[in-house]
């Protein structure tokens, strides 16, 4: 059993939870994730570790189905039955020069530890974040506090410039900024657009994939994805991959595998989607 210390709504449909998990917190590094299971009937779902303080871990989740909905019902002082990790490779953080960190939607929370780590390693970090509107623009203050250049886009123009993160990145590149690495995390379509954008410029681009997982340790192969000419397991080979090699069409198709089941489960539980 793991104690839930906090669970709060930070944006429409987006929650931040802090869980006491000292072993995991002591080892977790930027880019890694964990598996969580609420109780004996719960499923195992992966969540990126957004922050740690050595004893506790912070996760940020968007309500998308039964499990994330049930997570919202957990109150401080209650417990979740299982938390395990840290899983996946940590981000290979080193001094590169200029690193552009791009985050979209709930992926912005996942971007935070990575941007923080690149900054600490002495890189010139440019952060670009985007969401549908300003209410959904999470972690803006935390990212601003890193002291890096922060650029914002919203679909409706309610914060930053009206448009997409890709537009900002393209302008940066075209303005002649010498970018050594682009790191993108967010919805599949966003990571695809960013990867397609940087490819002709030959800018190395890492994406952090959010595939379906069961165990998270290489056992089931549910998270497999074509990268270049090979099939990789996102859980043990990733979750970060070279964005120019990822088959995004396959990623999006595989994410739809349980859509009907999820809808059905939400419907009978009276959870509106």
């Amino acid at each position: 059993m793991f104690d839930v210390l906090r669970n709060e709504k930070i944006a429409p449909n987006i929650f931040k939870m802090i869980i006491n998990a000292p072993l995991l917190a002591a080892k977790a590094k930027a880019g890694q994730f964990m598996m969580i299971r609420i109780d004996d009937k719960g499923e195992r779902i992966p969540l990126t570790i957004a922050d740690t303080d050595g004893k506790n871990i912070t996760i940020v989740y968007q309500v998308a189905g039964v499990t994330t909905h049930r997570l919202t019902e957990k109150k401080a002082g209650e417990t979740v039955s299982d938390v395990v990790g840290p899983l996946g490779h940590a981000t290979d953080v080193r001094k590169i020069g200029t690193v552009c960190c791009v985050g979209g939607g709930v992926g912005i929370a996942e971007l935070y530890p990575v941007a923080k780590a690149y900054k600490s390693a002495g890189n010139d970090v440019i952060i670009i974040i985007g969401a549908r509107n300003k209410e959904l623009l999470i972690f803006k203050k935390e990212l601003a506090d890193l002291g890096a250049q922060l650029l914002v886009a919203t679909d409706d123009g309610s914060d930053g410039e009206k448009g997409f993160v890709s537009g900002i990145l393209k302008r940066l590149i075209d303005s002649g900024r010498n970018i050594g690495l682009v790191y993108a995390v967010g919805p599949g379509v966003m990571m695809e657009v960013i990867s397609n954008l940087t490819k002709p410029y030959g800018i190395k681009t890492l994406v952090s994939l959010n595939t379906v997982l069961v165990d998270g340790t290489g056992m089931c192969g549910s998270c497999r994805i074509q990268v270049g000419n090979e099939t990789k397991f996102a859980c043990v080979d990733g979750p970060e991959f070279d964005g120019h090699l990822v088959n995004f069409k396959e990623l999006k198709a595989r994410q739809s595998l349980f859509k009907e089941q999820e809808k059905h489960a939400c419907k009978i539980r009276g959870i509106l989607q």
Partner: protein, 456 residues
């Protein structure tokens, strides 16, 4: 042994075989002639005194029977159900001459279940830890649990680290409920806990802690029973389509996460109406039978050799056939095709014929030119084997591995190249059954005890 009828059982996940009644067990035990030189015991990987426990059954002393078994085997309820007895104890029984070997597996299961019903006897055990040395066991599958149990009996303080949320390893995620009820596994795990074994779930050695951390925390020896948790695929086009599963994924969803009870349980599984299971082992049979129970109308076993070369137990092949699984032998899938949404629509195969024997001694299947054909299926389960789970191995580069990434060990002691680190089960070469893994766990426990005596 009595079973649920095929028509009945293919609609539920309840155990297929009912087990022997007391009357049946007494009758069966009375047939044993108690050989002086018991070939059955000699062919048991954990050397159970088989004539001894059968004699106790004859005398209706079931408590004594289970004690005799447990001197050598900590998981009798499991072994009575899933051991390939036909190749081991029962295969060596002298009564094979009359084509009527003793049903040793059935008798083992009978006394194990008898004890599990009488939970008081398990509660009588008290933790034994009398020695100071702490031993870490990585993985709570059959190898790890056996090693842990034997070490606890010797008085060591044992901690088992399990990556999943529940102990049992492949016994929980791999073998279906209808062959091995999960309650039986959990009762056997609790028995080990009653011996003083501490089990830490949600703990991945290689991630949550490293091997060196365990030694720093005072563990004097380590047994790695990290299992075969990395499924192989065939590397054919279309394998990443939706509704192509590894057998591991299908079985984990259904057995460990109870997807067959979705939506009461939260984990879903998405199976179509026509399922092809590729492979010829027990895992393939399990996957086929699980698919039927999930509501598939047609289930095929697709195997590139013939039934004679299949590694699956005869009993499991027969169970599958009785339930309506169709065998498509000498058939090799070459491509899986999908619809516009990325879901399986059909599978292209070629017909094979058997040629010259290969390295395994089995005749090598060769494709027949021009024999391509299409199977109308909407789900494909790939059950073509697996390699060792990489998490612990990658995090422990100093551990010597063979070219299949299996941990190299001394077969007598299960010792790896690292001092104080032992390994067995599917993480090493050859231990491909539950009982073989248990045998490795036993050898390792003995060797670890010797090692610790010499260290002090």
């Amino acid at each position: 042994m009595k079973k649920q009828t095929p028509d009945e059982r293919k609609k539920n996940f309840n155990e297929v075989a009912f087990g022997l009644s007391e009357e049946e067990a007494l009758k069966e035990s009375s047939r044993c002639i108690s050989c002086k030189k018991a070939k059955c015991s000699m062919n048991c990987p954990v050397e159970i005194d088989i004539p001894g426990f059968i004699s106790a059954i004859k005398n209706k002393d079931f408590g004594k029977a289970i004690r005799i078994i447990k001197e050598k085997n900590n998981l009798p309820g499991v072994c009575g159900r899933v051991c390939p007895q036909e190749n081991q104890c029962e295969g060596a029984c002298i009564l094979n001459a009359k084509k009527a070997p003793i049903n040793i597996g059935g008798l083992e299961r009978f006394v194990a279940d008898w004890e599990l019903r009488n939970t008081a006897s398990a509660a009588n055990h008290r933790p034994l830890a009398s020695k100071q040395a702490k031993v870490a066991v990585i993985g709570s599958g059959p190898a790890g649990l056996t090693c842990a149990g034997d070490l606890a009996r010797m008085g060591y303080r044992v901690t088992v680290f399990e990556a999943l949320h529940v102990a049992g390893g492949v016994l929980m995620y791999g073998i279906p409920e209808f062959r091995l009820p999960k309650e039986i596994v959990q009762k056997e795990v609790r028995y080990l806990e009653s011996l003083g074994v501490e089990i830490k779930t949600n703990f991945i050695v290689g991630k949550t802690s490293l091997l060196k951390d365990l030694f720093e925390q005072g563990y004097k020896a380590v047994f790695a029973g990290t299992g075969a948790g990395l499924p192989s695929f065939m590397k054919i086009p279309g394998e990443n389509l939706n509704r192509v599963y590894s057998s591991n994924e299908l079985l984990t969803r259904v057995n460990l996460m109870k997807a067959y009870l979705f939506p009461e349980y939260d984990t879903p599984v998405n199976i179509g109406k026509k399922v092809a299971v590729i492979g010829g082992g027990n895992t393939a049979m399990d996957s086929a039978r699980v698919s039927l129970r999930l509501g598939a109308e047609k289930v095929y076993i697709v195997y590139r050799r013939t039934e004679n070369e299949m590694p699956a137990r005869k009993e499991e092949r027969e169970n599958a056939k009785e339930e309506g699984v169709e065998f498509r032998m000498l058939t090799l899938p070459v491509k899986i095709s999908g619809d516009e949404n990325g879901f399986v629509k059909s599978m292209e195969c070629v017909k094979m014929e058997l040629g010259e024997p290969d390295d395994s001694g089995r005749r090598r299947p060769v494709a027949i030119k021009g024999s391509e054909f299409t199977m109308d299926v909407d789900t494909v389960i790939v059950a073509v084997g697996q390699s060792p789970n990489p998490v612990f191995l990658k995090a422990t580069p100093e551990l010597a591995l063979d070219k299949w990434s299996k941990i190299i060990i001394d077969p007598k002691t299960q010792a790896s190249n690292i001092k104080g680190v032992y390994a067995g089960g599917d993480a090493t070469e050859g231990d491909d059954t539950v009982i073989a893994a248990m045998g490795a766990g036993k050898r390792a426990a003995k060797a670890i005890s010797e090692y610790l005596k010499n260290e002090n």
